[in-house]
């Protein structure tokens, strides 16, 4: 080292360049001014789960059939489901209670992956802070249910794929049902009605 202190001067030059650069280069000033500027979330971004429903009515259009796979697979076990029952006490394929405690949820997306009915999906809403940690951090069914069009608005590619899969599934089932109906045309009225009720449950 011939000139002691030259390294310090070099460092000062770097900081001076950054000081001046922060006024002219956008690349050097990457901070988002949050409430005014919103982050542009990538499609894959995820926050907490929500439940998708088809059509306009959340209750009837609900895709969830209360199979409880997500409840079982959830790593921190933040999902709580009670299956609905009709007056006779017979189980209906619909959850009566579906709660997600997002103070426990770790946004891992495993519930989405394991759901066989394309019902649970990840939301992108990140403004969830509240003064009430028990009320607003436990999402119940009305808060969780969001329409398919909302799903399309946040994850367009994924939602389109899902719809395609559901459509293909439906077509396959319809074809199978039609074949079955054609095969045993007259005698089995009961099985036809049962299969149509299944279709109603999952249009």
């Amino acid at each position: 080292m011939i000139f002691p202190g030259s390294g310090i001067l070099k460092g000062l030059a770097v900081t001076a360049r950054n000081f001046a650069g922060s006024y002219v280069e956008k690349d050097r000033l990457t901070t988002e001014q949050y409430p005014e500027e919103r982050p542009k979330l990538p499609e894959a971004a995820r926050s907490f789960p929500f439940l998708v429903y088809d059509g306009d009515n959340p209750e009837t259009g609900m895709r969830c059939v209360s199979c409880k796979i997500c409840e079982k697979e959830c790593p921190p076990q933040c999902i709580y489901i009670i299956q609905d029952r009709d007056e006779a006490g017979k189980a209906i394929k619909r959850p009566k209670v579906f709660d997600i405690d997002i103070s426990v949820c770790m946004s891992c997306q495993i519930c989405v992956e394991v759901c066989p009915f394309e019902s649970i999906r990840m939301d992108q809403d990140y403004e969830l802070s509240s003064f009430d940690r028990f009320g607003s951090l436990i999402l119940d069914k009305p808060k969780l249910l969001k329409s398919n069009s909302y799903y399309h608005s946040i994850h367009p590619t994924e939602a389109a794929e899902t719809d395609g899969r559901i459509e293909a599934d439906r077509l396959k089932k319809e074809a199978a049902a039609a074949a079955k109906a054609a095969k045993a045309a007259a005698p089995s009225v009961v099985s036809a009605s049962s299969s149509s009720s299944q279709q109603e449950g999952k249009p």
Binding site: G7, I8, G11, A45, E73, P75, M106, C108, I110, V114
Partner: protein
């Protein structure tokens, strides 16, 4: 009013650095005995961030352990994912999809880049440089985190790797953005080096501080950059050739003195090597499925047996030792965290140095408390 005497000798002062202290990298605590400014005894205390990770994993399904690995070394979630996936694949003998191997290498090397630049910033912060280097490092790290977010959906808690591959394919345009970032990265490293590596104050603070001989490093179980700074040529990417690392050309830098400056510089040099690996991997990544279709994720039940899968994490050897009993839960789930084991020589390194050096030595080991305490 007393002059705060220590229990051992009236001339020394006992200071408890941490768990709430500006530069203990989280909730780490050191009980330090000082003679003036010189450290005569140092007792690390950890466990403040213990989360029972291994036991939680043993109570959950194999898949459910994956998101928890993100939280080990939360600076580099993707390498943690890989280490666990690797261990499970070894246990169950699962083939990994070709494209997924490339994605794993790319994400792991990106993780290494952002870990090493963040390390440079943190060490400078420990030296009192008011976070300037840290902010530059975070400026670049942010871009890498954005890439992670668009790929995996989360910036830090990625939960991306799966048994036999990865969870989802690269989004369109991702590789181009990555290529641009990787091409621009050496320029940023040059800027960091101009700011830091010639600085006389930094050199005086780092050189000759807490040297570690190769022997001591090996006997102490060191791994990763700390071991290589001591002059040992040991990189698991070369030793195990896990994944597809044997297809890439890269060099393993190693230090000569093993002091804080070597530990610092090794990271800079490794970051440059990672850029080279990334360039090669991006150029030749093949098309194809990202996950082995035969591999089961939900309800995964590996045959009874045991396996130890390890990778060269940015901080050192990260290993998962798994025992399966044929059920859907691991029978034993054990993590070998590099941060904890690299920390074991802390007292030996610190005794005899000044208190200001303790922070730098701690910083130069590069620990993350999430991994130390698990």
């Amino acid at each position: 009013m007393s002059f705060l005497p220590s229990l051992e000798s009236p001339q020394t002062i006992d200071v408890s650095l941490g768990p709430q202290h500006p530069s203990t990298h989280g909730v780490f605590r050191m009980n330090v005995t000082l003679d003036g400014e010189t450290v005569t005894r140092l007792q690390p205390v950890f466990g403040y961030l213990h989360r029972n990770h291994e036991k939680i994993a043993e109570g959950n399904s194999w898949l459910a352990a994956m998101p928890y690995t993100d939280r080990l070394d939360y600076i580099c979630p993707l390498t943690n994912n890989w280490a666990y996936a690797l261990a499970v694949e070894k246990l169950a003998g699962i083939e990994v999809a070709e494209r997924a191997e490339f994605i794993r290498v790319i994400t792991a090397e990106l993780t290494r880049l952002q870990n090493h630049v963040a390390f440079l910033g943190f060490v400078l912060g420990d030296m009192g440089a008011w976070g300037t280097a840290l902010m530059y490092a975070f400026r670049e790290r942010e871009k890498i985190l954005d890439l992670f977010e668009s790929l995996t959906g989360a910036r830090m808690m990625c939960n991306y790797m799966r048994f036999g591959g990865c969870r989802c394919d690269l989004p369109p345009g991702w590789l181009d953005t990555t290529r641009k970032l990787v091409d621009g990265f050496p320029k940023f490293l040059d800027e960091m080096e101009a700011l830091l590596t010639g600085n006389e104050i930094l050199l005086a603070r780092l050189q000759g501080v807490a040297p570690m001989t190769a022997d001591r490093a090996i006997n102490g179980g060191m791994s990763g950059p700390v071991l290589r700074a001591a002059g040992v040529d040991y990189d698991i990417r070369k030793v195990d050739n896990y994944g597809i690392y044997n297809r890439f050309k890269f060099r393993v830098p190693r230090g000569t003195v093993g002091d804080c400056y070597d530990r610092f510089m090794i990271r800079v040099l490794e970051a440059r090597e990672s850029v080279g690996i990334l360039k090669q991997a991006i150029a030749v990544i093949p098309e194809g499925p990202v996950v082995n279709p035969k591999a089961k994720q939900r309800g995964f039940r590996p045959p009874a047996g045991e396996a130890y899968g390890r990778i060269e994490g940015p901080k050192g050897e990260l290993g998962f030792y798994l025992i399966a009993d044929g059920s859907d839960k691991p029978y034993r789930f054990r993590i070998r965290p590099p941060s904890l084991i690299n920390l074991t020589l802390l007292e030996e390194l610190c005794v005899g140095t000044k208190i200001a050096d303790v922070m730098v030595i701690l910083g130069s080991i590069d620990i993350v408390l999430g991994e130390v305490d698990r």
